[in-house]
């Protein structure tokens, strides 16, 4: 991620250069944006786009790691159910992991994400009603988030009375949603 201070320094240097430029000092100002500024902006744009790509890749990795963890937990839970062991802990762990998929990471990731959200009471009632409000999420859409969280809740409720078939069914929804999201790479 580009540091704001570095950009500021760059822009400041450019402004000083422009103000002290012989062109400005010599006479009537030419029309159009100075080429140096355009070039700097182009460079900045590349940096921003590169940073966004890096962000996407990072979030994608977070999701992939979480999914793999969930997949393993799912297998463990199924194994315990099959062996008539207490699967409660594994099922609740699975529920938490699926919720993390919906949240694009755990709550510590959320603390990072909200630094990137535009300042203010970020509240878009109209967009919320339409289901497109994404509150700074990079990959997980509102629709996908709902699918994950509903599945997480359903899985969590099974902890008290594990059911292998029902668990498989819920996991199927998670797996399908995850695959769809990642297919949009």
């Amino acid at each position: 991620m580009v540091r704001a201070g570095r950009i500021l320094t760059l822009l400041l240097a450019l402004a000083i250069f422009t103000l002290t430029s012989p062109v400005l000092a010599a006479g009537p100002a030419p029309t159009g944006t100075p080429e140096e500024m355009v070039a700097t902006y182009r460079s900045l744009a590349e940096t921003i786009l590169s940073a966004k790509k890096t962000e996407w890749n990072l979030v994608s990795s977070i999701l992939a790691a979480t999914y793999q963890h969930a997949e393993g937990t799912m297998a463990q839970a199924q194994g315990e159910i099959k062996a008539h062991k207490d699967a409660k802990a594994q099922i609740e762990k699975l529920a938490a992991l699926v919720a993390e998929l919906g949240n694009e990471g755990d709550s510590s990731v959320a603390s990072v994400r909200k630094k990137l959200v535009e300042g203010g009471h970020h509240h878009h009632a109209a967009e919320e009603q339409q289901g497109i409000y994404d509150e700074g999420y990079v990959i997980v859409t509102r629709t996908a988030k709902k699918v994950f969280l509903e599945a997480a809740s359903n899985i969590g409720k099974m902890a008290g009375s594990p059911n292998a078939a029902a668990l498989t069914s819920e996991w199927g929804k998670v797996s399908k949603q995850y695959t769809e999201l990642m297919a949009h790479k």
């Binding site: 949240n103 510590s108 959320a110 909200k114 009471h121 509150e135 509102r142």
Partner: protein, 567 residues
Amino acid sequence: MSLRRLLCAGLGAAVFLIGCGKASAPSPAGASPPGSFKFTDVTREAGLTRVLLAGRPEKDHLLDSAGAGVAWLDFDGDGRLDAYLANGWKLSGNHIVEKGRNALYRNRGDGTFEDVTDRSHTAGEERWSAGIAVADYDNDGHPDILVTTFGPNILYRNRGDGTFENVAATAGIEAPGWNTGAAFFDADGDGNLDLYVASYIDCTLSDVLEARRTLDWKGVDKVAPGPFGLQGAADHFFLSDGHGRFREASAETGLVDRALGYGFGVRAADFDNDGDMDLYVANDSDPNYLFRNEGGGKFQEVGLWSGASLSANAAAQAGMGVTVGDIQGDGFLDIFVTNFAEDYSVLYRGDGRGFFEDVSEIAGVAGPTFKPLSWGAAFADLDCDGDEDLVVVNGHIYPQVDRHPEFGLTYAEKSLLLENDGQGRFQDVSAGAGPGFQTARPGRGLAVGDYDNDGDLDLLISNLDAPPTLLRNDTPRRGSFLTVTLEVPPGRGTAIGARVIASAGGRTLIRDLASGESYLSVHDQRLHFGLGSALKVDRLEVRWPDGSRQVLTDVPANQFIRIKKSN
């Protein structure tokens, strides 16, 4: 999940009814139709005159508009509710004009209050006060007052002689920052009250004083920025050593504010009915937390997958206040969280196992709460008909909205009274709730309590840059009542977290005792039951936090009773 504690052999054992009082006779049950409420503003005649300061008039920083809480407590043990008000500061530009003084008002018993702030030493140490929690943290029989502040917290230990002393530093709970909601509760089941304190954003006084309105609001005005874009401050959890001292124990207990959520309202309760105390935290613009007690003082944050964090549309809302009750008499606790303007306040129906569902729409609370910006809230049976109604206090944070009437928003807003039909569905009856509900105010905190001991619940509201509002309940009662005070002898644990279950007239009603909730506020800690047409409570069960139980049978209605924890 923790194992249930073994129940003490209290069931059926001797119970101690150590005092009772009789209130005025109610109107005959069913004497007034549903929707007949009447609340009268008696603030002036009651003498509650302290102006509650709130930064600058233009609200350049969120601290200017966050307001503070109010509390009902009986600090002198005379059986009458006294009022405590937290106060902020007055600013002008980047200057401090006045450091507001908190106020302790002693109830004279004739409908008026006496300002005893000075002689009780409870003025707030010249700090910008925010939230209040009340509990007998040192178990000496006297209620103590925690005041959270923008700065170090204050813990006013009640000396029992009408005076208090601030022991926050020696107790180890000062935790300077922008602290907001707080809850005392016994997190680890050792009989001592521990303490959770929510924090909002990480900022300095200099940040506040230098603040500028830079956030574009609907493209028409500039308002105070945040909370998004600002750094959240970590909440605190303090574990008691049982000797008046606490230590920070967030990490070891799992009560960790990992999202650095913008915390406001806090409520401890046993949401999953497993006998230990869980904790709910309303976060502004962040998912709310539900910390489930796993037993042994360990917690797991389960908000997202328990269904209690987000709206039905999977959106994080701007949680402000929180109240907990049982809206349909199923014995399970439900959670109501107030939210920002142009978004509904959310009602989560509990299933008793720790899972929740957003039922705001079908329960009828989404519509009335959508437009206003809501803060304090309380479930309370205001007409004594046997179900819990809902009061919501409103007020926008941007005074600038008044310049743009085209959006239909106002800075000062009327409070809402939503009547429960007994099945957990609510109807907005504010318009017919008497003059007290017809005045728009920049409201924030709400505390519900029977200050005149007439058997119904009155409302105390904090406002910005104005005195509080006391709304006396003049509603013709539609039923009987029973008000229960729980008492634990010194050194024998705590009553905070106790649950009382009343069976009357074929209904089962539950109440639990909390150190505070709503928005930074504290309700009457005597538990009030509206009983409808029942003239007695057939069975009254107290489930103490340590798992022991006491049962009373055939308790006559329309009285105040005190139940002391038995051996």
